[in-house]
Subunit: 260 residues, 2 copies
């Protein structure tokens, strides 16, 4: 492993830019994953790891796993904790980070014609919410996730970390608009989640075997044009204030009810 | 309203200490709530507001509501945005914060003998999780929350904010240990949430009208001594990795299944 000693090293600068800049992630087709577990998850899911960065402390502590990561990765570097802090996105860095090629999941969506239960996210903005939604979707067995192009970047470090590796294992695709996706996939029955006590209660629905539930923006809900293209509207009945659920909790309850 | 201009003003120093220090909150019997909505929630729930702090910008923007808050509060102060940043716990402060007397909810728990569905938290550590759990508990209509004394402080600013005001409306109590609480309340049937595929599936349970579900620590689950005092064990069935749910999502699914 090569030792990096300068903050001006182009490899370091590249990671800092990948951490902060969604457009740069898109241009270069790479993103970062931080933490031993999520890096190992990436390897086990056959993601292409372009570079591995570890501190000597991490190298000693997790020798065996880092050895495997290093031989799997195209390049690998060690660096001092002070330099690692520059590339890290966490408050107490574990000292393991890798740069990964963005994932091509188009093929996984080929089987969408055969049915399955999908989740579509219309302009979801908070990376912590998106990460948690991916995690719940995997835990409960969603077939795949569709994101509108105006959702927050699925490759942002917070999403990757919050998903606990689900980003590597779960089929997902980004499309121009959820409305266009629904029009292209009329075989899927569509259910829009709304905050409206007159809508059908989720507890009284039965989701069919080929369906998609649509979840909207944290503040403004589903776009009007998307809503018009949905066949059903439903709501999560609540005791108190109708808007009082955390967005990732609401999404997780919906996934749970779709699947169980 | 009094204008505060110095960071050495004892009122400012008091808030900074309340923000950072759980022991100081306990000693003084007060805590802080930040943001217009949560401060108004406190007032509407008849909490005792000891002091209100607002920037002039907030005063102009939310004149009517801040007037009401100011006449309800014992003391009220204006201060410059630079000073407000000192007392604020958020990245982009709204400019409204109040100091509130800790809530005495003992009385609300008097009716526990008449039944109801309760949630007990055994050493839950993350303030964001606790805030979200309170929010879900209120939304779905839980009768009350019991916290072990080693949970994170319910009055920490992150919990208050994350609860979206539920902390003011939801009955809760802190007890020495969940085991002692269960032994003191044999009228409640107790259900321990565990990660164990051989436990009863939550989907196959029926929670009776007088019951309590117990949720454990994010990493280590429920304490052994607590588990021994529970009558039932149950689990949330999952498709993938058995540990792959966010703690507040798992708690919310449990609340949802208990209540619906």
């Amino acid at each position: 492993m090569l030792l990096l000693t300068s903050r001006d090293n182009p490899n370091i600068k590249n990671v800092v830019k990948l951490k902060k800049n969604a457009r740069f992630r898109k241009q270069t087709g790479s993103f970062i994953a931080e933490g031993l577990r999520v890096c190992v998850d990436a390897m086990l899911s056959n993601a292409q790891i372009e570079a591995l960065f570890v501190t000597n402390q991490a190298l000693e502590k997790y020798a065996e796993q880092i050895d495997k990561l290093a031989s799997y990765s195209v390049k690998s570097f060690t660096l001092a904790p002070e330099l690692f802090e520059l590339i890290s996105d966490t408050e107490t860095p574990q000292g393991v980070l890798c740069v990964i090629k963005t994932l091509d999941k188009t093929l996984q969506f080929g089987k969408i014609n055969n049915g399955g239960k999908y989740l579509a996210l219309d302009n979801v903005q908070d990376p912590s919410n998106l990460g948690t939604i991916l995690r719940s979707a995997e835990a409960f067995g969603i077939s795949g996730i569709i994101l509108s192009s105006d959702c927050c970047d699925i490759y942002s470090p917070k999403v990757v970390r919050g998903s606990m590796g689900a980003i590597f294992r779960l089929p997902f695709m980004v499309c121009d608009s959820i409305r266009a996706f629904l029009e292209d996939n009329p075989q899927l029955d569509s259910y829009a989640a709304v905050v409206d006590s007159s809508a059908d209660k989720i507890t009284e629905l039965s989701f069919c075997d080929s369906c998609v539930a649509i979840i909207g923006n944290e503040g403004n809900g589903i776009k009007k044009e998307t809503l018009e293209a949905c066949s059903h509207r439903f709501t999560i009945p609540m005791a108190g204030n109708a808007e009082s659920l955390n967005a990732s909790v609401a999404a997780s309850i919906i996934i749970w009810e779709m699947i169980k």
